[in-house]
Symmetry: C2
Subunit: 352 residues, 2 copies
């Protein structure tokens, strides 16, 4: 045993890329699997085809079962905080469907040759505290010995049928609202390169560990579409809503909430592979008004770990939605509007 | 791109250990997490505490929701077959609870620097075919770029409350029945070391890709307890039933169904780390009658990938259960009996 030595390893030094930046590029995945045929069952109300956040299964009464999973490598060094981020990130997809998470199963890959098993306790404690804060419970899981640490959860929850949020219901005229600030991707890369100010890291961790508990704040209001922002970045997720809802979108770059330090990092080109694969994935369908800086363009494809929710709400409810959200999400902002679909315009257009 | 070169990589050459042998040792895990506190919710009928195969969630009507997940590295070289094994293995936990799987979410870690993305299609095709053979459907998932290939699924299913099989209901006098032959661990290691006869590999793959669809065969009969045999091996799983049910067990080594080549491999000490950690995990509570060969002792802790179900059934139903099972599981065998708990006897005793 080399436990004393292992105990001082920084988590982010044990991986090449951290958090949602470690996703397989969306373009590569869909190209590789485009001829894969599925036979969905009739009870599957939302499956893999619309690239929504989670699956919805019709329970045959007034409820959908929501199912989702997510896992990734560490993007921060403290095991307790990384556990909390991994849990908040996985739980988020249930919130993105308008639901309430109830159970979580652990997905753990642990490098027992590199890291001390003593790290497991704070890691899982951080996760369990966050799961229980969400009103859910840990119900099991699976762990393997692996070369690098990965943690995530398969989460199940429930939502009443009339209250489910899909990514396919955005309507022309809707306001687009983002609940959290952008920039966790570049700040995580800066952290790994030892270029991040401690204040930036603290703000990013506070954002990544915050639960996306928006559904309970918005009961009684209308949310026409919703998704959460992950490693594919804001532009990709806006694109997924626009495709699933058959609408166009206009997003005002100047209105985007931004984590402290993020623009600074992006101006210095602190990027990871996901910035480039995300930019490549959206390039045919996303356009930028001239005058939007290069740093801001990178921000729109910045891979988020435990990012905010992107909500499409009727414009007349904008102020009410923002007021309720800001009790918990002080940086929540109206960032754009939904437009009628037109094939001659880009699906998503960023304006100044 | 180095695709032509990458296309000829053998999957098992890209990993250090394959399949369920890559599990973290059960002893290490429980030691590291023994002070972790959970707050289960009242609807959680079976959680992580009894080391059962899956979680049971009370849906508030006559059904339990069953949730489980499993994933691992390749133990065989063909991507289509590995996809099928990964799916059959994950689905198995739902069968081990007496249920019917309905949805599966993919857990994929793919080494895009080592393997061609062209492998994704046969890999996922093998999995989807198996999921659909089970009457379930693929409903989503998550994939990351990683150093080694891992594939698995988070599976959800349903079971009527009166028909759920737990690991906690074994009764003294019950017969223990095993549905599949043992030995996938040693044969996978032999395959990796290029010491396996092609016939052994074929038989092991046929066993690992077979769905554990026993519940539908046994409708109307009584199954007091059930579990499926995984990387922890037969002895560990028998021990988990004995602990959860508060009984002792006697297992006849001579009755164990064995895959062709397995004893041969074990006699030549073709072992992996899981053989040793499993033996270590059970050593205080499992005993062997003198005269049981060393190879047979290793077989009892051989890490199974997509192993069989271990069922505890009332002795008077033994013949009927075996007759029904053998339609699909020709090697199913009565391997032992459940005994009244006594602290002065080992929890599980292997006899000749």
């Amino acid at each position: 045993m080399t436990a004393p030595q292992k105990a001082h390893v920084l988590l982010t030094e044990t991986v090449k890329k951290g958090g949602c930046a470690a996703k397989l590029p969306a373009g590569d995945l869909s190209a590789a699997l485009k001829s894969l045929r599925f036979r969905p069952l009739p009870e599957l109300a939302v499956g893999a085809d619309t690239m929504d956040d989670a699956a919805l299964w019709d329970l045959g009464d007034d409820r959908y079962l929501i199912q989702t999973l997510d896992f990734f490598t560490p993007m921060i060094d403290d095991p307790h905080e990384f556990g909390a981020v991994a849990a908040a990130n996985a739980l988020s997809d249930v919130y993105a469907m308008g639901g309430q998470p109830k159970t979580a199963l652990t997905i753990l890959a642990f490098p027992s040759q590199v890291l001390s098993l003593d790290l497991l306790l704070p890691l899982m404690r951080g996760a369990v505290e966050k799961i229980e804060e969400a009103g859910a419970c840990l119900a099991g899981g699976h762990s393997i010995d692996d070369d690098t640490l990965k943690l995530g959860f398969s989460v199940a929850g429930f939502v009443k049928k009339g209250e489910a949020w899909k990514n396919s219901g955005a309507k022309p005229g809707d306001t687009l609202i983002l609940t959290k600030a952008l920039g966790t991707g570049t700040i995580s890369s800066a952290l790994k390169n030892k270029q991040a100010d401690p204040d930036w890291i603290r703000a990013a961790i506070a954002s990544m560990t915050q639960l996306n508990r928006a559904p309970e704040l918005l009961r009684g209001l209308t949310v026409n579409a919703a998704t959460d922002i992950t490693g594919f970045g804001l532009a990709s997720h806006a694109l997924h809503i626009s495709r699933a809802s058959q609408v166009n979108m206009e997003v005002m770059a100047s209105r985007l909430p931004i984590l402290p330090g993020a623009v600074d990092c992006l101006e210095r080109k602190v990027l990871n592979r996901a910035h480039r694969t995300n930019a490549d994935y959206v390039k045919e369908e996303v356009a930028y008004e001239s005058g939007i800086s290069e740093a801001m363009r990178w921000l729109t494809v910045d891979p988020q770990t435990s990012g905010g929710l992107l909500l499409s709400v009727p414009s007349e409810q904008t102020d009410l939605v923002l007021e309720r959200l800001r009790a918990r999400f002080p940086l929540a902002a109206a960032i754009g509007t939904v437009k009628t679909f037109s094939a001659s315009y880009p699906s998503v257009r960023f304006t100044n």
